[in-house]
Structure formats: structure tokens, C-alpha cells
């Protein structure tokens, strides 16, 4: 894992002091709210429905037990005993007091963390595959480059007041678990003819009110030129991105309105100027950062297999957990474990201080002190010895974190919605909870198989409903809440945006509507191996539509 040196520490300390000064000026009234707003946003501090909300960066979703314990401590001391993990691999605290924020940032700095650029119209935290450095299908661990991007983009003077926020996601594997085609820039590891590893650069993806799949702007940029290439894109966007309309200000609109070829021409012209200049990344420096992410010292000679069928008979709950919450590891004898933050009836992504402490303990003892946050709002232990799985499971059971539902129908991504968010037009957490209750039966979930439900409380789509197999969008209609259902979205390398299936439903009707869709799928699938999304692609929307609305 990356470790701060003196320079990094001094930087974060400087930034914390700077922000403490800004908070002091706001409290004293020297700064008005409109002057303070962009400053606090630049440091992850939002004004929500009930209180301030502080968003803390977990760079590319990687953290250690000390950092997790610090979150627990902050939740206990400055908040109401819990934190909320987000789809950007960050954590949010919903109830801090403005005057406490500098102290919280000081606490974070002591464990090499910060809230820099977790909001505002700047380059946000770069996200990455939650199984980076562990997954069996990986070409290269994207985190060293993500760390370099983090540093290059931190308080970048030219790109701090962009037309709109800017998000970069990376994956080192061909199976895209980081939804890179739905980010402003997506980077996917690629090899060129000579066998060198570099990056495919995708640009102009995004969700929100105008979902767009990113377009490939360059099929191979080597590490050496990556920062120069990114700076070229950023400059074109900063200069030409629309600023007249907040809803048209993301780079996806620029790419869409101007056309990929025009933007590509501008980027290439800029790149021709800066290429080979100060941003050229020396190979030794990439190596030096990469060394921080060296794999841990795996043990050999331990068990490399686990008989899931056998375990399922002895302890069905454990069996289900093994079935769904384990990802294959590139090191024989190891596995990655997903810790579900989606208990039936809970608020997706929430963890209590005690749970965070428990997870930290487990990571320290059984997972080389490493943890990840996934964009699906779960936690991950990237490296667990197969021989330790039962012990880890038991510890998770004790912490009430052993829900074996990763990737299943109750593993719902859900935005805060009307319960916390001032922009919301509808509730979202209660909908997720109701659907969870409806499908609480573990056997039924397992029978349904992989199915991604995502819920947003308004058109801003923080819950990623556009890329859900079944997406739910809460809208306001005639003073009440109405939920639109979309089908067929996909955030992976087979990227697609879901289609609205028909008129919306009242909140109480949503779980039944979902059940109808699921039953239709079960009745029509070729076998239990055909997933919902595969069946939908084969069948089209007609049978689902008919099931929901009748044969009109």
C-alpha cells in the first residue's frame, strides 16, 4: 500500500491548516456562505438536508486497518456512530459539526487520509477495481498509476475550477468491475503490438440526467505519456466545456455535442505540444511507486481448495457466503472476500463504528492489513488464505457482516435519497429495504442468481440506476413519489444504459413489480445458468413489459 513520505505528510498538513483557516473565517463570518461553498466543497464538505456532510477520500478504494479504525473513531466521536460507504469508494459522515471539521481532518491526516477534492468542480478521487492487485484476471495492478494520478491531480492549479466535477476510473483487468465506461475518463489496461502494457483511454461517459457510454479516444497510451495525455484532455475540457448550464457542463456533453473526432483532434493537438515535456513519467518513478503495491508475502503450501458443496450441507449460510462473496485470487491458496454492507432491511453502505473496528481487526489478523471499498458499497478483504476463510466468516458473523448476498438481488446500490439528500425527489433507502425484505429468503436469492438492482432518489443518478439490470428511479409526480423502472443496464465491459419499461409505480407497488420481473425471468430462463441480464438480452423487453402492464 502507498505510504506517505515527508512531502505527502507536509502537503496534507498544509491543506488541513488551509481549510481550518477557511472554516475559521466562515465561523467568524468573514466568508459568506457563497464564498465558503466552493472552498468547503473542494474539501468534501456538503450542506445536506439536516447538517453538514463530510466526504473522505479512500484513494482507489484501498485502506488499512489503522485507517478503518480511525473511521470508527470519527463515527463514534464526531458523528452518530456510523459512516456511509459510497459508490465512489469513499466514506461519508452525515452529522459532523462545522467547528469539528478541522479536528476531524487533523485526525485523518494522522493516518494519511484527507478529504481533498472529494467534491467541487475538480478532479475527484480516482476509483479502481476493488480486486486490484488480487484478481485472477488482472493484466496489471492499476493502483500505482492511480496513485500517480492522485498526486498529479491534487490541488492542480489549472483544473480546480472546471466546468463541472471530473471523475476518473481505472481497471487493470478485462472484466470491468470499476464501471470505467461511465466515467469522465476511463482507463483500461491494454497491451500494444510490442507487448508493452499501457492504457486504453475512454472519455465522456457518465450517468446523471443524460447517461452516456464513454468513447474510446486513444487505444494505447503508455505510462510514460499518460499524465501529458490526461492534462491535454483536461485543458480542452477546461477551455471548451460548457459553463452556461450546469446540466450540460460535464465532458460527456462536450464530446456528444462536438463529436468525438473534433475533441480527439483538439486533444491530440494539445498532446503534440505537451508530449515529452515535464509531465513525462520516468520508468524508475513508476517502479518506485509500484514497489509500494508489491504483493504481500503469501504463504505457500496451505489449502488451495475448499469444498463448497460439502460446506453447504454442513452449514448452508456459510455455503452461500462461499458461493457468492468469494472472488478468485491470482495466488493459489488465497481468495478475495466481499463483506456485504447490505443486510436485509438495512441502509445500503452503512457500517457502525463497532463493525468498522471488527473489520479492521479481521483485516489485520487475516488479510495482510488490507481493505478495499467497492463501488458497489461493500467492503473487501483482498487477500485471505483459503484456510482462514471459516475463521474470517465466523468473525464476520459475530459482527453481523456475514450476509452471503454479494452480487445477488439484495446487494442493492442505493443513493441516500430523500432521507439525507437535499436534491432528492423521492425516498430510496426505504425502497431498497422493502425489496430486501421481499427477497429475504437466502434460497430464493441464490436461485435468482446474479442480479443488480440500483436505486436513485432523483435524476442525478447517484445510485447508478441507469446501469442496473433492474434500475429504479424515484421521481416526483403530482406531489407524490413515483418510481420508474429501467431494464437492461450494465456497467461492465458490455456497457449499456437501461431502458424505461413503462409508466412508474407507487412506492408500495415497487417490490411487487420487481417480483413480477423476477418471476418472468425465472419462468423464461433456459437454465439456472442463464443470468437475468443474459435472459433479458435474449428475450427483449416484451415479456417483461407484458408481465408488468398486461397485454395492452
Amino acid at each position: 500500500m502507498y505510504r506517505y513520505d515527508e512531502f505527502d505528510a507536509a502537503f496534507v498538513e498544509g491543506r488541513t491548516a488551509q481549510f481550518a483557516d477557511q472554516v475559521a473565517r466562515r465561523l467568524s463570518g468573514e466568508l459568506s456562505e457563497d464564498q465558503f461553498r466552493p472552498l468547503r466543497l473542494m474539501n468534501g464538505l456538503y450542506l445536506q438536508l439536516h447538517a453538514y456532510m463530510l466526504r473522505i477520500a479512500v484513494p482507489y478504494g484501498t485502506l488499512n486497518s489503522r485507517q478503518m479504525r480511525k473511521f470508527a473513531h470519527i463515527a463514534r466521536t464526531y458523528d452518530r456512530g456510523y459512516g456511509h460507504f459510497t459508490t465512489r469508494q469513499n466514506i461519508q459522515f452525515n452529522w459532523p459539526k462545522l467547528r469539528d471539521v478541522p479536528a476531524i481532518l487533523g485526525e485523518l491526516a494522522s493516518v494519511e487520509m484527507h478529504a481533498i477534492q472529494t467534491s467541487g468542480n475538480c478532479i475527484r478521487n480516482t476509483t479502481a477495481d476493488q480486486f486490484a492487485g488480487a484478481a485472477a484476471d488482472e493484466i496489471i495492478d492499476p493502483r500505482p498509476i492511480a496513485e500517480i494520478i492522485r498526486q498529479w491531480s491534487s490541488l492542480h492549479p489549472e483544473f480546480t475550477y472546471l466546468p463541472r466535477k471530473f471523475k476518473i476510473a481505472m481497471t487493470g483487468a478485462p472484466n470491468d468491475r470499476a464501471a470505467i465506461r461511465f466515467h469522465d475518463i476511463g482507463l483500461q489496461a491494454a497491451t500494444n503490438g510490442a507487448g508493452d502494457i499501457g492504457w486504453e483511454v475512454w472519455v465522456g461517459g457518465g450517468l446523471g440526467r443524460t447517461p452516456m457510454i464513454a468513447k474510446l479516444i486513444n487505444s494505447f497510451v503508455p505510462n510514460e505519456h499518460l499524465l501529458a495525455y490526461l492534462e491535454s484532455i483536461m485543458r480542452v475540457y477546461n477551455r471548451y466545456g460548457r459553463r452556461d448550464n450546469k446540466y450540460k457542463a460535464r465532458i460527456k456533453i462536450l464530446v456528444h455535442e462536438e463529436g468525438l473526432e473534433t475533441i480527439k483532434g483538439q486533444v491530440e493537438a494539445e498532446f503534440a505540444e505537451v508530449r515529452g515535456g515535464v509531465l513525462t513519467l520516468p520508468a524508475e518513478e513508476v517502479d518506485r511507486i509500484t514497489a509500494y503495491f508489491a504483493p504481500p508475502e503469501f504463504k505457500t503450501g496451505t489449502a488451495t481448495k475448499i469444498d463448497v458443496a460439502y460446506e453447504s450441507i454442513i452449514d448452508p449460510a456459510y455455503g452461500r457466503w462461499l458461493d457468492h462473496n468469494i472472488n478468485s485470487h491470482r495466488q493459489p491458496g488465497y481468495a478475495s472476500v466481499t463483506i456485504s454492507l447490505k443486510p436485509i432491511g438495512g441502509a445500503p453502505g452503512d457500517a457502525t463504528d463497532a463493525q468498522m473496528d471488527a473489520v479492521a481487526d479481521i483485516a489485520e489478523r487475516y488479510a495482510f492489513d488490507e481493505l478495499r471499498v467497492s463501488h458497489e458499497q461493500n467492503l473487501v478483504l483482498p487477500h485471505v488464505a483459503i484456510s482462514d476463510l471459516r475463521t474470517v466468516y465466523d468473525a464476520l458473523v459475530a459482527a453481523q457482516l456475514a450476509e452471503g448476498n454479494a452480487g445477488l438481488i439484495t446487494d442493492i446500490i442505493c443513493c441516500p435519497g430523500m432521507d439525507f439528500c437535499s436534491l432528492a425527489t423521492a425516498r430510496s433507502i426505504p425502497i431498497a429495504q422493502e425489496i430486501g425484505r421481499k427477497f429475504a429468503s437466502a434460497e430464493r436469492q441464490a436461485d435468482i442468481g446474479d442480479l443488480k438492482i440500483k436505486i436513485s432518489g432523483c435524476i442525478n443518478a447517484c445510485g447508478h440506476h441507469h446501469v442496473a439490470h433492474i434500475g429504479i428511479l424515484g421521481v416526483e409526480k403530482k406531489g407524490g413519489e413515483l418510481y420508474q423502472i429501467t431494464l437492461g443496464g450494465d456497467a461492465t465491459e458490455n456497457a449499456s444504459v437501461g431502458k424505461i419499461i413503462g409508466p412508474g409505480f407507487e412506492a408500495e407497488q415497487v417490490p411487487d413489480a420487481i417480483e413480477t420481473l423476477v418471476d418472468t425471468y425465472i419462468a423464461r430462463r433456459t437454465s439456472a445458468d442463464e443470468s437475468f441480464i443474459a435472459a433479458y438480452r435474449r428475450l427483449g423487453e416484451a415479456p417483461f413489459k407484458e408481465a408488468l402492464y398486461g397485454n395492452a
Binding site: 513520505d5 507536509a10 502537503f11 488551509q18 477557511q22 473565517r25 468573514e30 456562505e33 468542480n121 489549472e158
Partner: protein, 423 residues
């Protein structure tokens, strides 16, 4: 509803009524606020009197009077949706502590918000319209329902109020009751102390006159309390009266020099280009890019010192070969959130090696100056007072080490010289 409307249409100026009002004004001791209010609520306008309160820094006194006379008197609060959370909390505090039983929040019409202010930023571009949809419109149907209104106005606040009586008749024949007309600032404070009234949570933080959050800032010691409202905007008060009547913000003393360069505020030889200026004879003017391009030959023949003004959206590439013609290039930041000028500055300094003065003009604030500097800006036109002080006292909020190579003056530091820089 029908009856109310009827009442309203019948309400016309009435001579007897106005005479009666005159008489009323003689009935009470100057400081007998309770007496005034009781008379209004019980004898003159029973069931027909209400109050609009902003629940601002000095609303507590009037509300305390209401609580003594009749805690069920309707108290309307304009819930514009833009209040400080502290104000909303204060509403609850006062309600509870004073036992007010009839505080009614008035909300703007959601259709209006959707139509005119979908982004919630109307206050920024057009505060008058913002107030119109959030205050004037929602209040209108309510005002029609009552024959009399209690206000918190005081004589001392403005010149016009030097003659404020306890009872007034308005042009549409409503009665305004001003129980605090004779109260001075000191009386108000004493009253608060005597009755242990809770202070608005923001009052101690320097907010003396509190309205909606985006439109309120802090006033300096000795400044008119209402100077903090709509600071920086050419707007003095809402189109409605009640608690919102205000004095006129005292204009900030214009600082003598606004150009900050090489560590000091200095006299600025340059002026803005004006309509009617002539390309052949202009001197010490910042010529807008479009004007320059339209009269390029004439400007190039003119030997006098000239500057260039680059606005966002204009491409510095278009004047690339003529840059050396200018001794100063001004980059316009119309709002500090518009970051296009940073790219312009970097191109000038780094790509075109322009070595004259690069100045930032417009919304130039202390929190952005360090970024501008890194991008190559070396002069700043500053009109914002706190920024001026920060520059004079050399305490800009800045992180002094950097993670990316930018500009021409920064030097490598630390262990990763390809990336790390300092001044």
C-alpha cells in the same frame, strides 16, 4: 375563502378609520409595547391581526410580546427554502421557549421554483426575482386575509422612520401596528437581557441582520446591521416590508490603489477600454481581443503602451504572433468559479513565453490567488477588502508545496523531482 376575498374587495380607505388611528396613537406611553399590542389584538382587530417574522437576529423581542398578549396570534414565517439551518433551529427554539402556538411557515409555490429556479441559484443571478417567488408571491394571499399586521420596525433604524407611530394606516386601508416604534438599539438589547431571550445562533458570529443564507454576510463592527444583506449586489431590500425594511448598505471605502504587484498595491497606469476609444491613439488601455482583432493594423501602428483583455472563451492562440505588442495582458475572471483563465495564463507563460505583466481582473479573491500565481499570473486587481488585507499582511491561504509541475518559476523538491515542486 370567498368571504375573505369579499372583505378584501370591500376594504377601501375610510376617513373615520384614519381619524381613529390618529387617536389611537395618543393613547399609549411611548415604551408601552405590550399595551399597544394588546389593544390591537383584543380591541381593534380581534381575530384579524397577524405578524410576519423573519426569526432573525432581533425578532425575539416582538415575538416575546406576542407570547404575552396572545400566544395563538398567527406568526407567519417565510420558509424560502434558503435559510440557514441555524435560523430553522431558532424558529423551533423560540416556538418552544415562548410557547408560540401558531407559527405558520409559508412556502414558495413548487411550480414557481421548478420554473424559475430549477437549480436553486436564482439568488445569485437575479435576487429580486428570487425574493419575488420566495417571499412576495407566497405572502400575497396571506396579507389579503388580515386587516392588520404587527411589525418590528423601529424609529431609530432609518431617517424615514424618525416619525414612525405605533399605529399606521396603509394605502390599502390595513392597519400596521408597530409596538417597538420607540425602542432604541439599547432598549432592544436590554429587553432581551431582562427577559432572558435566546439569541439567534449566528448573532454572536457577526451576523446582525439575518435573511436567507446565500444573501447574508457578516457586518463589521459599527457597520449598519443590514449592510450584510445582499452584500456586493446592487440590491437593498425585498419588495415587501414588515421585518425586511432596511437601511442602505454603506458603500465600502474605495481603496486608493487596486493593482497588487510585486508585493505592494501600486498605482495602475492602465484603464479599461471604452466605447469611442480610438485604435490609433489609445494609450494604456486593455484592449479586448475582439476589438484588437477587428482593428489589428491600427493597433500595430500605434506606438503607445497598450494592454490586452482576454475574456473567458476567447482564444489566446488568435493573437499569438502579436503578444509582444502588449506590455500587460489582463485575464478576466468574471466569477471565481470560472476556471478558464487559468488555462489562458499557463498558455501565455509556458507555451508562448510571454514575459510581460499577466494580471487577473474580475472576481479575484484570496483563496484563488495562489492558484493564479502558479499558472503565471503576476499582478492582481483586487477590490475585495478581506483579500486586500490578506495580501497586505502576507497571509494568503496556501499550501506551499505542489504535486505537479506547473509554470516557469517553480523548482523541483523532494524525492520525486519529476512531479514535486515548490516556489
Amino acid at each position: 375563502m370567498a368571504t375573505l376575498n369579499m372583505l378584501h374587495s370591500e376594504r377601501k380607505p375610510d376617513k373615520l378609520r384614519s381619524l381613529g388611528i390618529l387617536a389611537l396613537n395618543g393613547m399609549f406611553d411611548e415604551m408601552d409595547a405590550v399595551g399597544v399590542l394588546r389593544q390591537a389584538a383584543q380591541d381593534i382587530l380581534p381575530g384579524d391581526l397577524a405578524i410576519v417574522s423573519s426569526f432573525g437576529a432581533d425578532s425575539a423581542v416582538l415575538l416575546h410580546l406576542v407570547a404575552q398578549v396572545d400566544p395563538s396570534l398567527p406568526v407567519y414565517f417565510l420558509e424560502t427554502g434558503k435559510h440557514f439551518p441555524e435560523t430553522l433551529a431558532y424558529v423551533e427554539t423560540l416556538k418552544k421557549q415562548l410557547g408560540l402556538m401558531n407559527v405558520i411557515a409559508i412556502h414558495p409555490d413548487p411550480a414557481d421554483i421548478k420554473r424559475f429556479d430549477p437549480t436553486g441559484e436564482l439568488w445569485e443571478t437575479d435576487p429580486d426575482s428570487c425574493c419575488h417567488i420566495r417571499k412576495t408571491e407566497p405572502l400575497e394571499p396571506i396579507t389579503e386575509q388580515f386587516g392588520g399586521w404587527v411589525t418590528g420596525r423601529k424609529r431609530f433604524q432609518t431617517k424615514e422612520r424618525g416619525v414612525l407611530p405605533h399605529f399606521e394606516l396603509t394605502s390599502d386601508d390595513r392597519i400596521k401596528v408597530n409596538p417597538l416604534a420607540y425602542f432604541s438599539d439599547a432598549d432592544v438589547n436590554q429587553y432581551k437581557i431582562d427577559h432572558g431571550l435566546p439569541e439567534h445562533p449566528l448573532f454572536s458570529m457577526g451576523y446582525k441582520s439575518i435573511g436567507c443564507a446565500p444573501c447574508t454576510s457578516v457586518v463589521a463592527e459599527g457597520e449598519d446591521p443590514r449592510a450584510g444583506r445582499w452584500r456586493g449586489l446592487n440590491k437593498k431590500e425585498c419588495g415587501i416590508h414588515f421585518d425586511f425594511n432596511g437601511a442602505i448598505a454603506s458603500p465600502m471605502n474605495a481603496a486608493k490603489f487596486t493593482l497588487y504587484k510585486d508585493g505592494a498595491f501600486i498605482a495602475d497606469p492602465f484603464h479599461a477600454w471604452e466605447d469611442g476609444d480610438d485604435a490609433a491613439t489609445a494609450r494604456y488601455k486593455h484592449v479586448p481581443v475582439t476589438v484588437f482583432l477587428a482593428n489589428r493594423e491600427a493597433f500595430l501602428d500605434n506606438q503607445a503602451p497598450l494592454g490586452l483583455l482576454v475574456s473567458p472563451g476567447e482564444k489566446i492562440e488568435d493573437v499569438e504572433q502579436d503578444l509582444s505588442r502588449f506590455s500587460s495582458i489582463a485575464i478576466k475572471f468574471p466569477a471565481f468559479t470560472d476556471g478558464r483563465g487559468y488555462s489562458t495564463a499557463r498558455l501565455l507563460a509556458e507555451r508562448y513565453h510571454y514575459d510581460g505583466e499577466i494580471r487577473a481582473v474580475g472576481d479575484v479573491l484570496q483563496d484563488q490567488i495562489p492558484l493564479m500565481r502558479r499558472c503565471g499570473v503576476n499582478a492582481f486587481v483586487v477590490t475585495h477588502q478581506p483579500t486586500r488585507e490578506a495580501l497586505e499582511e502576507n497571509r494568503l491561504p496556501e499550501v506551499a508545496i505542489f504535486y505537479q509541475p506547473v509554470g516557469i518559476a517553480e523548482v523541483p523538491v523532494g524525492t520525486r523531482p519529476y512531479l514535486r515542486r515548490a516556489h
